[in-house]
């Protein structure tokens, strides 16, 4: 308290007083200037971060738009190149019936037209199935993934297997579709680029978290590669995976196995319904 009240000052009071006052004032002004500049700096930094995030969002959006366009082009090509000519041929056969009155020829052309229409139906069914797999819709993610892996294995090019350890309750159908598309994209990438001899998929849950792990023995990518590809203009499929998982607030990790032999891709999702239930409890 003595420091806060000088009762017996020395001879240099004015010096101490003026320097003390100027010093305190300088400190205060310095503090104010520091606060203002520090805050501006923080805001500038946040702005830069937000811009980077916005750029990333733009990349993802562009990727998903391009993929949508590619999908549309594929469907248009399928319809135009396959269904179109088939239906045109069937029309020709049916037209022939009007011109040719010979019973046998008429029957033959009707039979041909019927078989062409059957082919067209099958073709349209295939297109429809590629858009929304019926197994996924009717029997869920587990069956759809098993089906997909059986088809890959059946082709003989690769040994593919899947195992769902804890999938008693199905996720929401739109979430299942997103996960299925991500798995499809990953498997597609492995088939196209990795030169692997096997793929193995496992599903697990831990608390409110839902995991899907893919192992393969081919050439894969690590998290660094994934991040780099995500920021570049290439890697459309990976950007698509990223944007799909963003919808589910999910994460994806690319890594090499402990043994450095296999590549591992882990999809981590939070089961929001279960999380809400646990919070309520």
């Amino acid at each position: 308290m003595i420091l806060l009240q000088i009762t017996n000052p020395g001879s240099n009071v004015s010096l101490v007083l003026y320097f003390g006052t100027i010093g305190m004032l300088a400190l205060t002004i310095g503090l104010i200037v520091f606060i203002i500049f520090h805050q501006r700096k923080v805001i500038r930094y946040q702005l830069r971060l937000q811009r980077m995030e916005q750029d990333q969002q733009k990349l993802l959006l562009n990727a998903s738009i391009r993929l949508q366009e590619e999908e549309r082009q594929r469907i248009a090509a399928d319809l135009h190149d396959d269904a179109g000519p088939l239906l045109a041929t069937a029309r020709l056969y049916l037209n022939e019936n009007l011109v040719n009155l010979d019973k046998t020829t008429q029957l033959q052309s009707i039979y041909n037209a019927k078989s062409i229409i059957d082919d067209t139906i099958q073709l349209i069914r295939n297109i429809s199935h590629s858009l929304m797999p019926p197994t996924l819709k009717n029997f869920g993610l587990e069956s759809a993934v098993n089906d997909l892996f059986q088809k890959i294995s059946g082709s003989g090019s690769m040994n593919a297997s899947s195992r769902f350890h804890d999938y008693r309750e199905r996720l929401q159908s739109e979430n299942e579709l997103i996960i299925f598309r991500v798995i499809q994209e990953l498997v597609n990438n492995i088939l196209k680029h990795s030169n692997a001899s096997f793929i193995h998929l496992t599903q697990n849950t831990s608390g409110t978290k839902f995991f899907i792990r893919l192992h393969h023995d081919g050439r894969g990518i690590t998290q660094n590669d994934f991040n780099k590809l995500n920021k570049s203009n290439v890697g459309l499929g990976l950007k698509n995976i990223q944007s799909r998982l963003k919808v589910l607030h999910g994460k994806i990790f690319f890594e090499k196995d402990m043994s450095q032999t296999y590549y591992k891709v882990t999809i981590e999702l939070v089961n929001e319904e279960e999380e809400k239930l646990q919070e309520q409890e």
Binding site: Q5, I6, T7, V13, I32
Partner: protein, 204 residues
């Protein structure tokens, strides 16, 4: 005071009435100091110090968001009142209450720093200088930090020294009142759109 009434609509909330009340009491105390015999000046100074501290501490208490700062303020206030009361009773012979005023200045500087710290760490606040309270706190900080040394020495001044050095107090008192006026005149919602909102106009 004039600015408070001129922009009353902008100042009727957020505890600005405390500062307005201080302005009135400050004017009354200054007038009383010049018209009342010198023997009573110690009581006027001492009482005014307690009132001044109470009002500024109340303003800052209302402005703090963090509980810890509020508790610190309350604890220090108890300490201040004990010392101020003791000083008022025990040191009647002195002309100026150096100890309580210096303690008041130190505490208010400390609270002002707490307030500024809260402002810069709160992510919801951008550009602190768009806030009316910021200018009040800056006024307090500048006034009390500049007059701290003067208050520490004030009890030992001779009449001549008092006249000479008291200019410092008058000068910073004017600056403080000017900053109060700036704060009172500022628009309540002068805060511009958050810079980050511009990036996502539809999402914020």
């Amino acid at each position: 005071m004039v600015f408070f009434f001129l922009f009353y609509q902008r100042n009727k909330t957020e505890g600005f009435w405390v500062i307005f009340l201080y302005c009135i009491l400050s004017a009354v105390a200054d007038t009383a100091h010049h018209h009342i015999p010198k023997v009573y000046s110690f009581y006027i100074f001492s009482s005014f110090t307690i009132i001044e501290y109470t009002l500024f501490a109340l303003f800052l208490y209302l402005s703090f968001k963090g509980k810890i700062f509020k508790y610190i303020l309350l604890f220090c206030s108890v300490l201040f009142y004990v010392i101020a009361a003791f000083n008022l009773i025990a040191k009647r012979s002195e002309t100026f209450d150096s100890l309580p005023v210096s303690l008041e200045a130190s505490l208010l500087i400390l609270y002002s720093i707490f307030f500024l710290y809260e402002q810069i760490t709160d992510p919801a606040i951008f550009y602190v200088y768009y806030s009316k309270k910021f200018w009040i706190v800056i006024a307090l900080l500048i006034y009390f930090s500049s007059t701290l040394f003067l208050f520490i020495y004030a009890a030992s001044f001779t009449r001549q020294e008092h006249k000479t050095y008291w200019t410092i107090n008058s000068l910073f008192d004017i600056i403080k009142n000017l900053l109060f006026a700036v704060s009172f005149a500022m628009k309540k919602n002068k805060q511009l759109k958050h810079p980050l909102e511009d990036l996502y106009p539809d999402t914020y």
